[in-house]
Amino acid sequence: MVVMKMKFPFEKRVKLAQGLWVLSWFAAVAGAITFTLGCILKTELRKRAEVMDNTDVHVVPNTLMLVGLASLGINYFAGKICQDALDAGRFPRWKTFLKPYFATSCFFTVLMLLSVVMSYVMKGSLENSLKIGLRNGIRFYKDTDTPGRCFQKQNIDRLQMDFQCCGNTDHRDWFEVQWISNRYLDFSSKDVKDRIKSNVDGRYLLDGVPFSCCNPSSPRPCIQYQITNNSAHYNYDYQTEELNIYLRGCREALVHYYMGLMNTIGAGVLTGSVLVCLRYLQTAMEAVAGQENTEIETEGYLLEKGVKETIMEYVDPVRMYSHLTRLRP
């Protein structure tokens, strides 16, 4: 019982081989691009490691790099095989190589498709990790004298300027945190004492944001203190003012950025189609072997036996090997 049989006259075989050669080179380039993207993603994730709580999300770029390299190798060999395919004299030397080749390629193609799915699944984990990381970053913003946290201020400022964002969810996160260190608060001032007394935890909270939240596109000089107080500034309305500070939260900005990088992985689909075409070519050429007239019409198929039997055929040697190694000691 043969799976997906197709007839292949000589011209069709030639066309298949030629098309496959071009396709395999495109897929090899796509594999190289996937590897590069994996490297870029990993570098970018490491750059912002301080605002991420855990490194679970690193599994995506690691898989991408592995898959990119594998795809490069697979498609390179596919190109070489189909170059030799139409020559009945050169094709037989690939025969012993083809069975394990198909097994490994199928495995890596499945892995590639899995990584595409994984990058979407990881979005939730990334968002969570960023939420906790950013919350800590904002909380420790003022601790520029505490070892281990002294760079948080600089990191958060740079992050907000680079990604054009403010706070965790939005700029109001800064209203709930004391981001001015006690070293720079005049405790003899009445204003400071009132504020601290009015807060349950004794924190100095104000409706102001750090300067890194300021938007350069604003037509007026930046208003970063007393943001919600319309009367403190001339010709200012807090509800309608959109350009003064960045309105987007840094969590959203970072997730957007990383998902954009991860979405460029669709090229993995190419390798799947290369493998299907190659299988047809191989089976069609096998029928030609040994024939005097190489231009006859042959049949190509995907699987000689049914799906279940083919899987058993591949799994049995592995099972035998593991059985043997278990028996030895």
């Binding site: 520029t144 004298d145 002294c150 201020k153 600089q154 400022d157 740079r158 300027m161 981001w179 001015i180 260190s181 070293r183 720079y184 608060l185 005049d186 001032s189 750090p210 300067f211 890194s212 300021c214 350069p216 596109s217 604003s218 037509p219 007026r220 000089p221 930046c222 970063q224 500034h233 001339y234 010709n235 200012y236």
Partner: protein, 330 residues
């Protein structure tokens, strides 16, 4: 009489042809490099054109671009000539072109050298241009409602943030310009009116700087208003506070940035110039092939002509010994 006759076996000629082909492509590559360096410099200058008062500096990248293009053409042509001058039949085609081509090559090499030197000498003009450009940009910082100047605020802010600089020579330049637009000044407030009256030209000057001057390295939140007033802020001394604002002036920052780019480009162009000269000196075979062949070619031509003349004479009626032989004896 053939002067300096050089005989080439077939294998040697092939090797020579291969070497010349390789050198030809390397030369074309250097032309492409020159072109791309010029293009890169032009893009960099274009990016900051709003803070440069005149665009005359553009002649440096333009010169590099044209030199690069001309280099590609010349080297490509030269390679073709060299390749074909081993083949005597094709060489005749190029004979007329060779002399002007050599003149062009010398002129082009001179241009490359001038281009490299210009990259080093541009500094003064650049400094002047940046000084005027930045002064104007700071003056029009507040004019976000005037068409043609509405993006200057954003440009200056992004510049100061990216290059980590403040003002023209330093942050004090902001104290001499009104950088807050009248639209956002409450003219009914006594404080504002006092300030305006105290200034001769009626400008609202203050000892404050825009937020983009704030340094990210400061351990404390940025102090941008009343910068010189120690009593306005707790635990603050204006003279000893180094990390609050960026200390470097933007003129210096931009000058350093462009000087380093142009120095690297100048160095690469000089290396290319040296390489080209070594190429011409170390490979005299090509031109000398020409002169060698020309002499022997003239010789060959003359001898060929003589042979042809004699050939004609050979078959003249009175010289042919077999002319009277009967067909029967053949």
């Amino acid at each position: 009489m053939a002067v300096g006759k050089v005989t080439f076996t077939k294998a040697e000629r092939e090797k020579l042809a291969q070497l010349l082909w390789l050198l030809n492509w390397i030369s074309v590559l250097t032309g492409v490099i020159l072109f791309s360096l010029g293009l890169f410099l032009r893009v960099e200058i274009q990016k900051r054109q709003e803070v440069m008062s005149d665009q005359e500096i553009l002649y440096v990248p333009h010169m590099l671009i044209t030199t690069g293009l001309v280099a590609c053409c010349i080297n490509f042509l030269g390679g073709k000539i060299c390749y074909e001058c081993t083949d005597t039949s094709k060489f005749l085609r190029w004979k007329l072109v060779l002399l002007p081509y050599i003149v062009c090559t010398f002129f082009f090499t001179f241009c490359v050298l001038v281009g490299a030197l210009m990259c080093y000498s541009i500094r003064n003009q650049l400094e002047e241009s940046l000084f005027l450009g930045l002064r104007n940009a700071m003056r029009y910082y507040k004019d976000t409602d005037t068409p043609g100047r509405c993006f200057l605020k954003r440009t200056v802010d992004l510049l100061q943030m990216q290059f980590q600089c403040c003002g023209n020579a330093g942050y004090r330049d902001w104290f001499h310009v009104q950088w807050i637009s009248n639209r956002y000044l409450d003219m009914t407030s006594s404080d504002v009116r006092d300030r305006l009256r105290s200034n001769v030209e009626g400008k609202y000057l203050m000892d404050g700087v825009p937020f983009s001057c704030c340094s990210t390295l400061s351990p404390r939140p940025c102090i941008q208003q009343q910068v010189t007033n120690n009593s306005a802020h707790y635990n603050y001394r204006h003279q000893t506070e180094q990390l609050n604002l960026w200390r470097r002036g933007c003129r210096q920052a931009l000058l350093d940035h462009y000087t380093s780019i142009m120095r690297s480009i100048g160095l690469i162009v000089l290396l290319i110039w040296l390489f080209e000269n070594v190429l011409r000196l170390g490979n005299p075979d090509c031109e000398s092939d020409g002169w060698i062949l020309e002499n022997s070619l003239a010789e060959t031509a003359r001898s060929n002509f003589n042979i042809i003349k004699n050939l004609g004479k050979c078959y003249q009626v009175d010289d042919d010994p077999n002319i009277n032989a009967s067909p029967l004896s053949a």
